[in-house]
Symmetry: C2
Subunit: 176 residues, 2 copies
């Protein structure tokens, strides 16, 4: 099923290949999300809310800004999400006294206590993937590498223009 590559792959076939790749990533992301959704229903958390709680459990109270840096999310996503976490009684949002622009996110007792119940989640996730730790780590590194490359390319708009030197991935002998 792996699309083997003839050196002279026509441009049309790249569309099919592209389909394979982006489908895979898109589908994997949603499948992962789906499993977390099932596991987190117990805890009353969505997947992104769980990500926020993981950061807070690990780093303690943080301003929205720092939270966003850890998660690569902006206030447009975090503000309403944090309000929902507050409504659920898991965090408090308090204006910083020193800097009134900043809002400190603090775990409540309930929020801290939830951590105990969350401890069971990672093992179940690991089980659901069917991967062992080495495989998961390898995949993670791969994904981080991909993310870095993509982020760099997105920032540098020129990198997304046609590169004369780039013949498509591995299209000819001696490529890369």
């Amino acid at each position: 099923m792996t699309p083997t590559t003839a050196p002279g792959t026509p441009a049309e076939d790249w569309l099919r290949l592209d389909r394979q790749i982006c489908f895979s990533l898109h589908a994997a992301s949603r499948a992962f999300n789906g499993v977390y959704r099932v596991l987190l229903k117990d805890l009353g958390l969505t997947y992104p809310q769980y990500l926020v709680m993981l950061v807070l459990w690990e780093h303690g109270d943080l301003p929205v800004k720092k939270l966003g840096e850890h998660l690569r999310l902006d206030s447009g996503t975090l503000s309403p999400l944090l309000k929902r976490l507050e409504a659920a009684g898991l965090v408090r949002r308090e204006r910083s006294a020193r800097d009134e622009r900043s809002v400190e996110i603090r775990l409540t007792e309930d929020g801290l206590a939830l951590r105990e119940r969350a401890l069971r989640v990672p093992r179940r996730i690991g089980s659901a993937t069917g991967f062992d730790l080495a495989e998961i780590s390898a995949l993670r590194e791969r994904l981080d590498q991909l993310t870095s490359a993509l982020d760099a390319a997105a920032l540098d708009a020129g990198a997304l223009e046609d590169e004369p030197g780039y013949e498509g991935p591995a299209e000819g002998p001696g490529c890369r």
Copy 2:
């Protein structure tokens, strides 16, 4: 930075590991999305709309049902998306004469013509990843494998309960 695993990793550390893994996948998915967003702005398509067009270009006209099977998306997602593609003049939605329940999605001339402009996208994506084809293929297979495992686990609710035999990924010698 790879979290090496001592056999007796405490449950707390799994949360950190879990954080690593799900962040990576989440972030990679969004980074990918972001690059496509930049590239597709020219074509006037969002990333999911591009996925729909890829399927139509490859398979020709399809009913919504078939489209959803290819993309693993349901009508709740596809119906509004297809209306937007229709508003953009790229597809037509026509009730099937043979089965009035079914809606056939047909490419318009504009929709078909857009394919020519889309041919440049995959190469730019490949370039942006910095991966060669072999690496991309390997990653794709990995992700498909992951998706299958996760889908299976999500369907079989029992698979997400605690498994006595599952000690966490690769936690001991002779594990899996």
